[in-house]
Symmetry: C3
Subunit: 321 residues, 3 copies
């Protein structure tokens, strides 16, 4: 087959693909009900990052005089995207087509304006929380050279920034939108915080790759978490629909530290105030306040290892490549 | 040194760098044999995502009437990239320069057209597999609000989507191309599935960061895997070239569940149908069907922790920052 | 509230946000001291990748004749960004506003030119190190089909490439810049190597997601590391400022292999030449040369698992979703 022949056969291939698009309706979104637009939501996150940390990201050279113009411009741009994407999410939930304009639609669009307003009203409070997170990152990490470095570089702070804002939309009950935001942060950082999780003040995540924080987690103030920590759910006996709405993830009280690779599971599990959870600890029960829980590290075996050229095998079954 | 002086010295620096490019031939690709173009392959993956999930990504507002035009347009664009990049990969393997046009080259180019056609023919079948993956993600995750959310947001589904398509090119024996695709997905999701791995129907990966699935893995139907799971190879006695072509990674039969952080190693290891592998289990032997294997979690030590202001040290050697 | 009303209320919202920007000075960068520009630094990394691996990334079709022109062009572009961004970083450290031009500023700008020159002078030596890394990746991974594949696809190589160059700027004591580089690589690969870490020759990281290598690590030649390995610090008794400048991370001598998920902590911990550290080993003490250290894998429990339809519960407390 040469290039020309391939071209001649393309229409046939297209027919098969179109047919497949029609017979797999769950994989094709064809009605006039608009879905939210992932790229617009990501663009909005980028603009929000500049709005929340002016002078660090996006436009540089801001001064005390011109900052209000830049923030004004950004707010208008963010409001545009927010309104349009929230509106789509609300119409999507009610399966209202894009062009429609009866009372129910108008209700949806008014709700979108309300929620956009409510979200923007929350920005100063969220900034205050984030200022405490920035300080906590600097205070907690001996490798940090200053708070500017944590704002610029720390993936934990990026993930927390996105989640705190997504959580606002989650509590306003906007579908799809908040999860698109947090999965974008997950992709950039390897940190997977569900928008439903409630995070306290001065939250710090170091390194962060592999962290998973579930939907119904409750996290207190001054909590520190390291890479590979899971705050997850226990597998139910059988999957039941009702499980979706239950508290499935743990509660972490104030001043808790959870070191790398620890796994804490279950909706009734409470890690009490001031507790310290050691690396790789696996826990499915509550821990009393001010306790430290450490795992006996696995017993180690030492052996000489110079037989490389002898007949003895290095192959031991516990290594991996 | 000021800026002018730096500029004056640049040509000298360039000479050294050019010399280094010439004396390190393994790091410089200078002949006329074209390599595949990574950015084009990534662009193609983006277009394939729209082709496979029309209306979700890329162009919005598709209807039953216009969908065929959009899918037709996309198919032509994808065919263009596929043909050009497969052609490059085949010529690359035979070290044929770009301009050349003898019989061997023509053979290469015809093979590229054949493979492009064969790949596009497979799209409907791959869509069918992905439809089952989408359903499985919704059914398996209590945090999922609907199948649309899994298509939009779930990194596991993105990694599986890319791997299923890359696997088609891998089985057609196209070099470089499929691995560029899966490493792109790895970068976005933290999920590293080699294009060689054979995945069964209704495959689900939750959270996913840190998952590694090796080249010669065989995975059955209805398998569920959680974050941090490794399906890897055992380290050989000594590295031998022949090891490259051996089955090095495990076989996972139907209906198996593997919880977070488990490690399963070895080409002869078979996890039997319906088995359940607990979190952090480390396994290098086969598991019989319908068994559950759990690891005794490490014994925990509890201690009070209020000595912060006393002389006693918190320093215990098992924490990490 | 409709769209019009929302627009009318935006100025009020902007006022609140501007006020918040003024009252949280740590989150707003408003003086005329320019910060480095993250996007420019990332653009420079992309250009450096082409400079170091010509023909693989960026412009294709390079020949022995035209390569010098392309490398010359790239060097000039990289020098421009380097000079401007290093200059900003140095002025940032001394809090010198952008326009200023007294003696101290001139000193800063001259230092920026010196450091740009010094950095570019190091490119050939860094390329030599990277050539050995490329070879090591191919030699160590049975799934690798050739060195070209490792250059194109291997996330470990990407992370090492960025870190080796960032480390040059770190040793020149440029603030912020090197960490922005390595966190960019972290975001792409899930591999977090601090720019301060000293890496030996022929370094190999496989898969890599979740790897953390701390600021004061010392790594010898021919070291191999697998996914999820942490080379970290022990938590101090109490956080003291002085801790920031101490050696906090381990030393890994030549020819050491560290398998997936192992954790090695502490600034006094030395893993001796030729040692082999098994998967999931947790170590806070030194290991003598040519020893292999393996962890007793956790004891496994096997149970039948067919009670799905009986009354017996599968719920066991050690699974996670």
């Amino acid at each position: 087959m040469d290039r020309q022949e391939l071209n001649i056969r393309l229409p046939q291939l297209v027919d098969k693909i179109v047919e497949s698009a029609r017979t797999q309706p769950g994989m094709t979104h064809l009605d006039r009900v608009l879905l939210p637009h992932r790229d617009s939501i990501i663009e909005m996150v980028t603009k929000l990052r500049e709005l929340v940390f002016p002078g660090y990201f996006g436009k540089q050279g801001l001064t005390a005089e011109n900052v209000q113009f830049r923030l004004g411009e950004l707010t208008v741009e963010i409001a545009d995207i927010l309104y349009e994407q929230i509106r789509r999410c609300l119409r999507y939930r009610k399966r209202i087509p894009d062009g429609a304009m009866d009372d129910e639609c108008r209700e949806c669009d008014h709700a979108a304006a309300e929620l956009t307003h409510a979200f923007l009203t929350r920005i100063p409070a969220v900034r205050e929380l984030l200022a405490a997170d920035v300080q906590s990152a600097y205070d907690s990490d001996p490798a940090a050279k200053g708070t500017d470095e944590t704002i610029f570089c720390y993936p934990g702070l990026l993930a927390i920034f996105v989640q705190r804002l997504a959580h606002e939309l989650y509590t306003m009950n906007v579908p799809l939108f908040p999860r698109i935001m947090t999965e974008y942060a997950h992709s950039l950082t390897g940190i997977d915080i569900h928008p439903g999780a409630a995070l306290g003040k001065s939250f710090f995540i170091d390194h962060g790759t592999g962290v998973v924080i579930g939907e119904t987690c409750n996290i207190g103030n001054n909590v520190k978490i390291y890479q590979g920590v899971t705050l997850g759910a226990l597998a139910p006996d059988r999957f039941v629909e009702e499980f979706r709405s239950r508290k499935r993830h743990p509660t972490i009280e104030d001043d808790v530290i959870i070191y790398a690779g620890a796994t804490i599971l279950g909706g009734d599990t409470v890690i009490g105030k001031g507790a310290l959870i050691g690396g790789n600890v696996f826990i499915t029960n509550s821990v009393p306040a001010f306790n430290r829980v450490t795992a006996d590290p696995p017993k180690l075996k030492y052996r000489e290892r110079r037989q490389r050229n002898s007949g003895a095998s290095e192959f031991s079954g516990d290594y991996q490549i």
